[in-house]
């Protein structure tokens, strides 16, 4: 495939439906809010280039697709390959996926498979040589065979359904090792202490930058809006990691100077929202955007397209290959708060801690229609939050734009009730 956007024969990419979907959203993100940070320019441009102009994803060596945060990216980097996260947020691809998937399946899985099925999909990952598919929820598990049927090479990264027991931990460590073997087969390279160390250092630097950004969002009044934060973490799916880290470091520097200037990105009384549940993935940033358009501000999140993907860091005791690989395995299993796990008290505790640390006024819980595990965990989370007096809005939605009116009513009502609560408290 050598068609470029300027190719006269091919239809202009930016006039395709998926490009327009992305463009509409980017316009909203950029134009509907004043005072976007200067450093966000990089991300706005990046998304326009990749999503609206179909610019291919930058990579070195083999391109390895991942369908979940459980695939250890450091291993992929260590083999000289580049990971790209395939989880897709486009309604357009959701519709394509609906052609061959059950109507009630999760839009994320539908859109991901839809984009893999589509021609000239964005992000443009035309040269995928392997897809690593962690066996997480049922729908992703079943996706392996479907992706294979489309002609992709797929590695099933076997993830245990529980994470508490030592058996699960060891099982997962073995899974990660066999993934390393698969990568070795694929790339013809060897995993060495030095290349893994270098790969881990890259990820660690990216995570440190993310953590700084995360901490800056504790600031009240807010320095930075959640819609931008989600854009930044979504860029991590496909952007060159070093370039991404530098851009985030620049953003952090700008936010720090905003902090000293006493800048406010939202009103002083704007309700501070903690976002949890099914992940907002570009261009489906519908819910965070609605929240912020209605005058709230998303200050923290507990989702696999942002916090859960980047927050937890790897610890190593002895910098030998075995300890590094086991350390990576642990980092991708133990702290994870995904509801696919049998027991998930960790998610409850994480939410309470985030709510306290970020001085949160309310929680918005997004559940994709068809994402059973999030739907099922709703009750337990609601109870725990209610016990602590933290209001929560549960929103069941999907990628289609047709519930926007209804959603905006609910979100506004929720924010209004939070404001009243806040006023009454004072």
């Amino acid at each position: 495939m050598n068609s470029t956007p300027t190719d006269a024969a091919a239809p202009a990419y930016n006039r395709s439906r998926q490009a327009r979907e992305a463009e509409t959203l980017l316009d909203r993100i950029e134009d509907d809010f004043p005072d976007n940070p200067q450093a966000m320019r990089y991300f706005y441009d990046l998304f326009r280039n990749v999503y609206c102009h179909g610019e291919p994803v930058r990579h070195q060596g083999t391109l390895v697709g991942t369908t979940c945060i459980h695939a250890p990216e450091e291993l992929i980097y260590a083999f000289g390959a580049t990971p790209v996260r395939l989880c897709n947020g486009s309604y357009h691809y959701d519709q394509i996926g609906a052609d061959f998937m059950p109507a009630k399946s999760c839009p994320l899985v539908k859109a991901t498979l839809g984009s893999l099925h589509a021609k000239a999909a964005v992000p443009n990952t035309q040269s995928l040589e392997l897809i690593v598919n962690p066996t997480t929820c049922d729908q992703k598990t079943k996706a392996s065979a479907m992706m294979e049927a489309m002609g992709y090479k797929v590695h099933d990264l076997e993830l245990p359904p529980a994470k508490e027991s030592e058996e699960a931990r060891l099982y997962w460590q073995r899974s990660v090792r066999s993934f390393a073997l698969r990568l070795r087969e694929l790339t013809g390279r060897k995993l060495t202490r030095n290349n893994l160390k270098a790969a881990m250092a890259r990820t660690a630097r990216a995570q440190a930058a993310f953590r700084t950004l995360h901490q800056l969002r504790k600031s009240a009044p807010a320095l930075f809006l959640g819609k931008d934060a989600f854009l930044v973490t979504n860029a991590y799916f496909f952007d060159d990691i070093d370039r991404w880290t530098e851009a985030v470091e620049q953003l952090n520097a700008e936010l720090r100077s905003r902090q000293t200037e006493g800048f406010q990105a939202a009103q002083k009384r704007a309700p501070r929202i903690l976002f949890t549940g099914s992940p907002p993935i570009f261009p489906n940033l519908k819910l965070p955007l609605l929240i912020e358009e209605a005058g709230g501000v998303v200050v923290a999140d507990e989702t696999c397209s942002a916090n859960r993907m980047l927050y937890d860091m790897t610890a190593v005791d002895e910098w030998l290959l075995n300890d590094m690989v086991d350390g990576l395995a642990d980092r991708y299993l133990k702290p994870c708060t995904c509801p696919i796990f049998t027991r998930n008290d960790d998610r409850q505790r994480r939410l309470l801690q985030l709510a306290a640390d970020f001085n949160v006024d309310g929680v918005v819980y997004q559940a994709f229609a068809g994402c059973q595990v999030y739907e099922m965990e709703y009750r337990s989370i609601a109870d725990v939050l209610a016990a602590q007096g933290i209001p929560m809005l549960y929103v069941e939605t999907d990628y289609s734009p047709d519930d926007m009116g209804q959603l905006s009513t609910r979100i506004e009502a929720f924010l209004e009730s939070l404001k009243t609560r806040k006023r009454n408290k004072q």
Partner: protein, 265 residues
């Protein structure tokens, strides 16, 4: 004398309400939303003013609510219909000794709202992007049965047999189910009662999600339907508080809010 107005632009009807300086309700007006809701909203509002001999300048603050709230630029502010409904029900409910739970069935959605003693929303739930259990569902059913919407209440009590069970909650599927029942020779009365119970069960489930407390206030157009009210009371196991004009509670709430917003500034 200064006045304050609330305009509720819903999916089927536009409701306007005006209160005076003391927050006392002066009057309300209802008109169909139609295709050009902005024009209709303006006309409804102006007709209401004319009806009570109020000049436009005397209206110091307008708060818009309902689906069209954002697009009604003549308003000074807008508020979600959930908050407006809560305020309106809290005020109107005082005459009944105060209410804490509100059930609202509108043209395209149904809501359950829990409020505290001051009328602040403490919890709410709404149907998910589907017309099941909403006013639209009644519309569709009435059309299939070839009876007027206003007659549904009479039909409800007219049957001799037990209400039929309508299994489909989806408005589209219910349509064919109703046609099937008619074909089998069931009476319209039993079918209507069945429809009411179907909506009532769905609504009670929604209300249970927010928790049912104290007196339950029922508003929205369908609250005029005596049959639905009876079914709802039956399913709920308690009496409902129903205002004289159940359609305008939300507009009234917006007007009350308009007044306090004006006074705060």
């Amino acid at each position: 004398m200064s006045y304050f107005a609330g305009i509720d632009i819903g999916s089927t009807a536009i409701k306007a309400a005006v209160v005076d300086e003391d927050g006392k309700l002066v009057g309300t007006r209802i008109a169909p939303t139609g295709s050009s809701f902005h024009k209709n909203a303006m006309e409804t509002f102006e007709a209401l003013l004319a009806q009570h001999g109020i000049v436009r300048e005397a209206v110091k603050f307008i708060t818009a609510t309902g689906y069209g709230r954002k697009l009604f630029k003549e308003a000074d502010d807008s508020i979600s219909e959930i908050t407006a409904n809560a305020i309106g029900a809290c005020e109107a409910g005082r005459a009944f000794g105060g209410v804490r739970t509100i059930i609202n069935i509108g043209g395209q959605d149904s809501k359950a709202i829990q409020i505290d003693a001051n009328g602040n929303v403490s919890n709410f739930a709404m149907n998910d992007k589907c017309a099941a259990g909403t006013g639209r569902f009644l519309d569709v059913a009435a059309r299939n049965l070839e009876i007027d919407l206003e007659q549904l209440g009479d039909y409800h009590f007219g049957g001799s047999g037990a209400p039929l069970t309508i299994n489909s909650t989806c408005a589209v599927f219910a349509e064919s189910e109703i046609i099937g029942l008619l074909a089998k020779g069931h009476g319209k009365e039993e079918i209507v009662a069945g429809i009411h119970y179907s909506i009532a069960r769905r609504t009670v489930r929604l209300a249970k999600r927010v928790g049912i407390e104290d007196r339950v206030y029922f508003d929205g157009g369908p609250a005029l339907n005596k049959g639905l009210v009876a079914a709802l009371q039956d399913e709920l196991g308690r009496e409902l508080v129903i205002p004289e004009q159940p359609q305008t509670t939300t507009a009234y709430g917006a007007a009350v809010l308009a007044r306090s917003q004006y006074l705060d500034e």
